[in-house]
Subunit: 455 residues, 2 copies
Amino acid sequence: MTKRTGHLRLGAFLYPAGHHIAAWRHPEAQADAGVNFRHYVRLAQAAEAAKFDLLFLADGAGTRGDNVDFLSRTAHSYVAQFEPITLLSALAAVTDHVGLVATASTSFNEPYHIARKFASLDHISGGRAGWNLVTSSNEHEAKNFNRDSHFDHAERYERAIEFAEVVGGLWDSWEDDAFLRDKAQGRFFDPARRHVLNHKGRFFQVRGPLNVARAPQGHPVVVQAGSSEAGKELATRTAEVIFTAQQTLDDAVAFYADVKGRLARYGRHPDDLKIMPGVFPIVGRSESEAKEKFEQLQALVDPKVGLALVSGLTGGFDLSGYPLDGPIPELPETNASKSRQVLTLELARRENLTIRQLYLRVAGARGHWQLVGTPAQIVDELEAWFVNGGADGFNVMPPLLPAGLDDFIELVIPELRRRGLFRSEYEGRTLRENLGLKRPANRHAAHGAAAHAVA
Amino acid sequence: MTKRTGHLRLGAFLYPAGHHIAAWRHPEAQADAGVNFRHYVRLAQAAEAAKFDLLFLADGAGTRGDNVDFLSRTAHSYVAQFEPITLLSALAAVTDHVGLVATASTSFNEPYHIARKFASLDHISGGRAGWNLVTSSNEHEAKNFNRDSHFDHAERYERAIEFAEVVGGLWDSWEDDAFLRDKAQGRFFDPARRHVLNHKGRFFQVRGPLNVARAPQGHPVVVQAGSSEAGKELATRTAEVIFTAQQTLDDAVAFYADVKGRLARYGRHPDDLKIMPGVFPIVGRSESEAKEKFEQLQALVDPKVGLALVSGLTGGFDLSGYPLDGPIPELPETNASKSRQVLTLELARRENLTIRQLYLRVAGARGHWQLVGTPAQIVDELEAWFVNGGADGFNVMPPLLPAGLDDFIELVIPELRRRGLFRSEYEGRTLRENLGLKRPANRHAAHGAAAHAVA
C-alpha cells in the first residue's frame, strides 16, 4: 500500500467532565459540566482556535442502565446533561468555523423532525452541521418512548436505512435555487423547484416537503458509528464519516479496507467516506508525567463503578459474583451493541486480563484506543495509523475536560503540524469543505451530478 | 372592577420578514429572513435592549396548506424557515435577559423529547426558556408523521392534557438539590432525590427519569394559545401565559375574566396565569404616516394570496367562486381551529365586510388585534386593555421586521414608560421572575409548597 501524505482530520468528542469514567472526581474537573454552558463555550472556542474539524456529541434519550447505585457514582451514562442539538445550536452562535456533529437515534425519533433540526442547524451555522446517525444500543431509551423493549438488532438497522432515505429525500425538498424572493413579481419560490417526497415505506409515511430551505452544505454531513456487520453496511450506504472503535493498527487497517471496499457497490468513491477512529490520549511532557496523569484518574475509579461498567460493555451481564482478580467468564450473546461486546471480550482475552484489570482498561476510553505518552509517542501512533491506511483522521476523546483538550492542543497539535499532518488554517467555509467531502447535488436538479451521499 | 396599576408584559413575536402577509415584498424587507441568522440576532438583541419579556416563535412541522400557487406567492405558512428550538438555542448564546418561547406541538412530538429540549434550553439560557404548547391546527403536519389525517379536535386536546402531565412529571425527575457532585465520596447524585415517573396512560408510556437536571426555572414557562372551550380548559390546567387573539376590549375582558375565573378549580391563583393578547401595531409619528405605512403593505397583497388566506382562516373553504366584492357566504363547520374560524367570521359579519375587505383586514394580523396610529393612540388602547382587565400584557406582532420592531421600540415603548406602564430594567434573572410567576416546587420535595403549574 502506498504511504499516504496530506492532512488528517480531527474531531473533538466532548463529554461533560471528560471521557474517563472518574473524570468528574478529578480536582481540576468541572463537576457541573453537564449543565454548564460556559464550560462548553470554552471547549468549543479552544477547539476552533486549534482548527479541529468538528465538535462531536454523543447522545442517549434516556439514562443508560438502571443500576441506581452505579449511576449515582458517575457523571456518565447520560444521567443529566444538555441535549446535543440545543447545545450545538447555541455553540453555533459563538463559533465561526468548527463543525457541529450531534448524535440522534433513528429508533426513537421521527425523520421529519431530524431532517428539519439538522437543516436548521446547518443554516444557523452557515454550513457546519453533522448528524451522527445511531440506532441506539440502550434498552432503557425504548421505555421513554411507548415501548417495553428495544427493536431487535436487525429491525433497528432496517428502520435506520429507511429513516436515512426519508431524511435524505426531505433534504432535497427544495432545489438550491428554488427561492426566487422576487419582490416585484410577488414570487417567493418557483413551484417547479419544490419537490413533495410522498414516502410510504415499511416504517414511515412522510409526505414532505421539508419546511426548511436546502442546507448550505446541500445535506448536513452524515456520520455513523456502528461497527457491526449491519452497522458497516448502513454506513457504506448512508455515511460520510465513520466514527469507530479500533484497538490495534491491524484491526484498523482491516476495518478501513473492508468499509472502503464496499463503497463501489453504491456508486461511491473511497474519498466519499472518511474513517475516524476514536482515540483517548493522555499526554505528558515526559512519559512519566503522562503515566502519572493516567494513574491519578485510575485511582479515582470506585470498584463498584468499574464492575458495573464492564457489565454494561459486555451486554448487561452481572459480574459481581465473580472474583475481581479472576478471569472474565464465558458470556451469552445479547441484544446489546454486538460490536462493543465483541471488542471488549477480545481485549480481555488477548491480554489475559482479570475483571479488575479489564475495568481499569475500559474505564477511560470505554473500548476506544488509549494512548499514554509524550507528544512524539502519541503522534508516532497517529501517524502510523494515518499513513498505513488505518484512518483518515481521529475523533479525540480527552480524558478530562478542559485540561485534556488543552493538553492535546498545546502539545500534540504542534507536533502534528511539524510533521505536516495537520492544518494551520481552515481550508473551507463549511464542515464538508474542511473534511474534503463533495457537496451533494440535489437529486431533482435538472443540471448537475446525480451523486448524493444519502440515497 | 378596580383599575390596575403596575407594569404590563411584552412579547416580541418574531416572524421572518414580519407578520403582514406581504411583508417580504416590502422594499425594506429582509426577504431571506427565514434562513438569515444575523437577522434574528439583530431582532433578539434589539428586543432585549428594549427590555421585552420574551421572544415568541410560532411553529408548524409542515407547510400550512397545499395550494402551491398560493404558497409560492408568500413567505408565510411555514414554507421554509428555521426550526424554532434550534433558533432560540442559538439566540440564547447572544442574549442575557430576554425570554425564549418556542412553539411545539403535542400532536406530533414525544413528551420525552419536548421535556428534554426545553429543560436543556432553560439550562443553556440560565432560566429563560418557555414552551408554547399547541395541538396543531394544520392538517398537513399529520402527513409528515405517519398519518393520513390529523387527530380530531377532542382527541388532540385529550392527548395534549396527558402530554403536559408527562412533561411536567419529567421536569420533576430530579429535585433541585439532587446533584451532590461530591468528589471525595464519589457520589454524583443522591439516589433518594431522583424520581422515576413510570407514566402509563391512554396515549403515552414514559418511564423516565429525564436525563437533564431540574431546570433553573423549576419548569420552563408553559405558554398556551388555544381560545376554544377545550383550549381554555387546557390552558387553565397547564399554562402560565396565554397568547390569545382578541379583537375588542369587551371580548378581551370577557375572555380574561372567563379564564382567570377557572383557575381556582385547579388550586391556582389568578396571578399564576398571565394573559397576553396579540397586537399588530403600525405606528407612525403622525396618524397619516401610520396609515401610509399600512397602505404601502396592503397594496402589496396579491388578490390570489388574499383569497387563499381567507379560505385558510375559515376552515379551508374555497371562496374563489364567489365575487370578491360580495359578502362572505355561509360556511359549514370544519375540523380546523374552531376559535380562529369563529373570530374571522364574526369580524366579517360585525363590520359587514366583502371578501376583498376581509382579506385586506386579516392579511396583516391574521385575526389578531390591529392598531394603526401614533404612539399616543396605540398606548391609549394598550393601556385601556391593561387597566380594565383585558390583558396582563401583549404579544407584539410587528408588521415588518426589523422596521416594525424598531418603530415599536423607538416610539411606543418610551410612551409606555412615560405612563409608568413598562419597565426600564429587568426585575429578575429568569423569564419566570420577569413575568412575575412563582418558581414551581418539585412535587417530590420533602419541604416546600406543593403548588406547581403543570399538574
